[in-house]
């Protein structure tokens, strides 16, 4: 989309003559919601252009989930086989969790580009423009969410290797859930980036958050039968509320899994014995994302 626009623009003025002696009058229009939406769109498109030109990032971000799925997954599968019903691989079991992981780093590091932009000055170009700050923050979050979802879709292509069927309904559900997760994670990163001015500090702090979030989400183990302290911690982790619906989606599309096996492998999130419905789970993630987006907008509206 962005490329098409640019190519069209190039053609348009290659053919047209421009009269350099006369000043081309440009009147910058009054502020309007349309102008703000145009700003959202260009900030979003910038993320896509940068993602497209940075193929190395796309490849390196895949390394970690691939390692988890194939090395850890294969290595532990013999050990795990005893706990799994027949016909279910350990790789299949951890696939939804690792899929969530595949967007985790990309989403938060997209937000890190705000810190880069601040260090390299580009943030100032955006902050001094006659548009609302929310437009820039929302554009950034949508951009990060889109890029991270693309990343997730690449990993989704490997579903067959983990014996997850390419069922259209399942794939659409997973993409939707990835989008929600990516948005919330980017909002989290942007909120952090509003306050943290140095890239080193940002990286260190996100590392501090990211791995505990991942390990406590139940991405690599079922949420039932855990010690009480770990049960509490997993319920506090927001990532839990997206990993569980993703796992539920995958397992309800596995033909080899019977009802009893499904409830053993994907028991759902419970609060003191009450089963949290999938809709509420997703709503929790969405509301958290919106809340962090709100905080980020307030932070970016402050002037010196």
């Amino acid at each position: 989309m962005a490329t098409k626009d640019l190519a069209a623009a190039e053609q348009a003025h290659d053919s047209g003559d421009s009269d350099l002696t006369s000043l081309i009058r440009v009147a910058v229009p009054e502020r309007s919601i349309r102008a703000d939406l145009r700003a959202v769109s260009i900030v979003w498109r910038r993320e896509l252009i940068r993602f497209r030109t940075d193929r190395l990032r796309a490849v390196t971000s895949l390394v970690q989930p691939v390692l988890f799925l194939f090395i850890l997954g294969t290595g532990l599968s013999g050990l795990a086989r005893r706990g799994l019903p027949s016909g279910v691989d350990f790789q299949t079991f951890i696939y939804p969790g690792v899929l969530a992981m595949s967007v985790l780093f990309t989403a938060i590091f997209s937000a890190a580009s705000i810190v880069w932009d601040r260090e390299f000055g580009f943030l100032r170009e955006m902050l001094v423009a006659p548009v609302r700050r929310w437009a820039i923050v929302i554009g950034k979050c949508l951009g990060g969410a889109t890029v991270a979802t693309f990343q997730g879709i690449i990993f989704l292509a490997l579903a067959g290797v983990a014996h997850v069927p390419y069922n259209p309904v399942l794939l659409l559900t997973l993409v939707g859930e990835l989008l929600l997760l990516s948005f919330t994670l980017t909002a989290f990163g942007v909120m952090m980036a509003a306050r943290i001015k140095q890239i080193q500090a940002f990286m260190a702090l996100t590392q501090l958050f990211v791995l505990p979030l991942f390990f406590l989400s139940g991405a690599l183990y079922p949420l039932n039968g855990l010690p009480a302290w770990l049960t509490v911690l997993t319920r506090i982790d927001p990532l839990t509320y997206i990993v569980d619906p993703m796992r539920h989606a995958v397992f309800s599309h596995l033909s080899a899994v019977g009802q009893s096996a499904l409830s053993a492998l994907s028991p759902g999130v419970t609060w003191n014995g009450w089963l949290v419905p999938t809709g509420l789970s997703l709503a929790i993630v969405g509301v958290m994302g919106l809340a962090m987006l709100g905080i980020a907008i307030v932070e970016f509206r402050k002037t010196e």
Binding site: I42, R124, M126
Partner: protein, 325 residues
């Protein structure tokens, strides 16, 4: 409204530090106005306030007829900015950077194509528009920033140290563009610089030191107000030379930039007497007509390099001293 910029009793305080201490000035429409002063004098803080990036602690500032606090967005629509540090996205092409800017500023889509070509041809980057900015040289990047600052046809263009960190040749070419711009666009230019020779390009200059404006006038008037030539000598014994200058000629001399410096009327007639009567061996002599450097010195008691050295870190002081040899 005939003032492009008008500032009254403006102050800005960061905690205990008073960066701007009550400044007043007016810039008429169409003028090129320069803010001259050492690093840390309050130039960048003032420009930040005028560009709505910082709120004043007290006082008022109006740009293009609008208050920078109450009518922030209107001010933003009417100004173009070229910052001291680059604010380009080096992963995008030159054209993509400008397209981003056009969308943020709401430049009408039909006007974008021709305007893009106009500003890029003005700075000589039309042929390179498709290249990624990271492949541009420092001078090309600065020119692209100037083109971008002009894209939305602002009424006031702010240039914060437009040539800092560029080689002399590129500095000259950047100034050629700025001067051409004055001819072609109906625009007021506000710039900051700590290069004396660049300040000469301005219609009027404000000399700023320690957060206050110490003088405002045309470069010619400021130089005329000094009236004396500057003589700098290098001697075998500077202290003895300063004593002798006071005793023999009644002149007050000081050491600036590592050289004994003083002002006299018609310096070239004074030099022969200096050699005849000064009891200290002289290694070298230079005589210069009053420059803005002298103006700066006469208003602040130091050369701009001295002022930078006292603010800057030790390394820069050492670099400046050895850089002179």
């Amino acid at each position: 409204m005939n003032s492009a910029i008008s500032v009254g009793a403006l102050t800005k305080r960061y905690g205990d530090i008073e960066a701007v201490r009550g400044i007043d000035f007016e810039v008429p429409t169409g003028e090129t106005f320069g803010f001259l002063g050492p690093n840390g004098a309050g130039k960048s803080t003032t420009i930040k306030i005028l560009c709505t990036l910082a709120d004043p602690t007290s006082g008022t500032a109006r740009v293009a007829g609008h208050d920078v606090v109450a009518e922030r967005d209107t001010v933003r629509r009417n100004i173009g900015l070229v910052f001291q540090d680059t604010t380009l996205d080096s992963y995008l092409t030159g054209e993509q950077n400008l397209r981003f800017h056009a969308d943020l500023y709401g430049v009408p889509k039909a006007a974008f194509g021709p305007r893009l070509r106009q500003v890029l041809e003005m700075v000589g980057l039309w042929d390179r528009r498709g290249s990624v900015v990271s492949t541009y040289s420092g001078g090309m990047q600065r020119r692209l920033e100037i083109a971008r600052g002009l894209l939305h046809a602002p009424r006031v263009l702010f240039l914060d140290e437009p040539t800092v960190g560029l080689d002399p040749q590129t500095r000259v070419s950047i100034w050629a563009y700025i001067n051409e711009l004055k001819q072609r666009e109906d625009i007021t230019i506000f710039l900051t610089t700590h290069y004396m020779d660049e300040a000469e390009n301005c219609d009027r200059i404000a000399i700023i030191d320690h957060g206050t404006v110490v003088a405002i006038d045309t470069p010619e008037a400021l130089k005329a107000s000094i009236g004396k030539d500057r003589v700098q000598i290098s001697t075998a014994d500077d202290e003895a030379a300063i004593r002798a200058l006071a005793e023999v000629f009644g002149l007050e001399a000081g050491v600036h930039e590592g050289l004994v410096t003083f002002s006299v009327e018609s310096g070239e007639h004074f030099v022969p007497q200096l050699f005849a009567r000064l009891p200290v061996a002289i290694k070298s002599v230079s005589v210069s007509r009053p420059s803005l450097d002298d103006v700066f010195m006469s208003y602040t008691g130091k050369t701009i390099r001295d002022a930078e050295a006292s603010i800057g870190d030790r390394n820069r002081r050492i670099a400046t001293r050895f850089g002179r040899r």
